[in-house]
């Protein structure tokens, strides 16, 4: 797996209706993208820090953070000290 797979999924759900639809069929969508258990847990659990460290695109991460209610500086606080893997 690579961050590109998570990016691809996040890109496909980058509008609110698409995100809400995703939530109704999350398992099937994540199966289709072959996401690993840690990736699934990070995505559904709102673990932006782990997603960042996995190398998810920052613009997609910011948009996703809005869907999970990490606005108003909370995303920044969640990411403080996070390190990216080389991509």
């Amino acid at each position: 797996m690579s961050a590109f797979d998570i990016d691809k999924l996040l890109h496909s759900i980058s509008t609110r209706p698409a995100w809400e639809e995703f939530l109704t069929q999350a398992d099937a969508r994540m199966d289709a993208c072959n996401l690993t258990r840690p990736e699934r847990e990070a995505l559904l659990g709102g673990d932006a820090r782990t997603l960042y460290e996995m190398g998810v695109n920052e613009y997609l991460l910011l948009r996703y953070s809005g869907w999970i209610g990490l606005g108003g500086g909370r995303l920044t606080r969640a990411l403080v000290g996070a390190r990216r893997e080389a991509r």
Binding site: H11, S14, Y52, Y59, L62, R63, S65, G73, T76, V80
Partner: protein
């Protein structure tokens, strides 16, 4: 020959419209004053159409491919609903399909292979500036999106060349036509990283000096690493570089600058390029 009547550059920070009361009033007033001056320039110029150059925020292209440049060809375009992060609902922006088609052919002939899209979803990169500059959304807008939101990104020289070809296209248009250019994006900022909220004021001010002093060769010699030192969002400078290419040799003036508006996570700048026809 048509007249290039205005060439402008500005930030497109969505937090300006999302959280209008969050910034200190003195800074907010300065930002709004900068946009007000840009709007006055545009209204005085009275263009028949405008070209807005912004960056692809990965709402449209990304998978399966991401073209370095994409030009929208359609009678109108829809913006995405961004109430939470930009305070803006979905809107329709009129365009000019014929002008866009002809621009596409012209830049292709000039040697830059811009991708074409008939279904370009607009976002705050376009809509925040338009909110201030043409709030009635009654000016036809042609759109170019540049790929700055992830690497590999188009080289600065390629963006500049695209700007030159845009200028050449404008000069082929009917004499009565009035055209405006607006580049949106920048300054230094970090998007979706632990450094979100920081600025690199030294880089910002050096950039503005390069633009005002028209040291285009210095502008184009910036490396990706030098830009990255001002944040992943600083790569949006390409949208201003394209305007610099379209206004080669024209003096430029900073109409508004605020170094760092903490609640809005970055600084603000508005620039006017003094085009001969304006």
């Amino acid at each position: 020959m048509a007249r290039l009547v205005a060439a402008l550059a500005t930030v497109h920070n969505p937090f300006i419209t999302a959280f209008p009361d969050a910034a200190p009033s003195e800074q907010a007033d300065a930002v709004h004053a900068g946009f007000g001056l840009l709007r006055a320039e545009l209204e005085h110029a009275s263009p028949d159409w405008a070209l807005v150059i912004t960056n692809e925020h990965l709402r449209n292209a990304f998978y399966p491919y991401l073209p370095p440049f994409a030009l929208g060809v359609a009678p109108q375009f829809q913006s995405v609903e961004e109430v939470r992060n930009a305070g803006l609902g979905a809107q329709v922006v009129p365009s000019d399909e014929n002008v866009a088609s002809q621009l596409l052919e012209s830049v292709w002939d000039g040697g830059v292979d811009v991708a074409v899209t008939h279904d370009l979803l607009l976002d705050h990169g376009t809509m925040v500036p338009l909110h201030f500059l043409t709030p009635r959304l009654d000016l036809p807008i042609v759109h170019i999106h540049q790929a700055t939101s992830r690497g590999p990104r188009p080289p600065l020289k390629r963006c500049y060349q695209l700007g030159q070809l845009i200028r050449e296209f404008v000069e082929t248009r009917p004499a009565s036509e009035r055209v405006a250019l607006v580049g949106t994006g920048g300054l230094s900022h970090w998007v979706g990283t632990p450094r979100m909220g920081e600025v690199n004021a030294e880089w910002d001010q050096a950039l503005l000096r390069m633009l005002v002093e028209r040291r285009d060769s210095d502008l184009l010699s910036m490396s990706n690493a030098e830009i990255e030192a001002a944040g992943n969002g600083a790569h949006e400078v390409r949208n201003w570089v394209t305007i610099a290419g379209a206004t080669r040799g024209c003096p430029a003036e900073v109409l508004g600058y605020v170094e760092h508006i903490q609640p809005w996570t970055m600084g603000s700048a508005q620039i006017k390029f003094h085009v001969q026809g304006g």
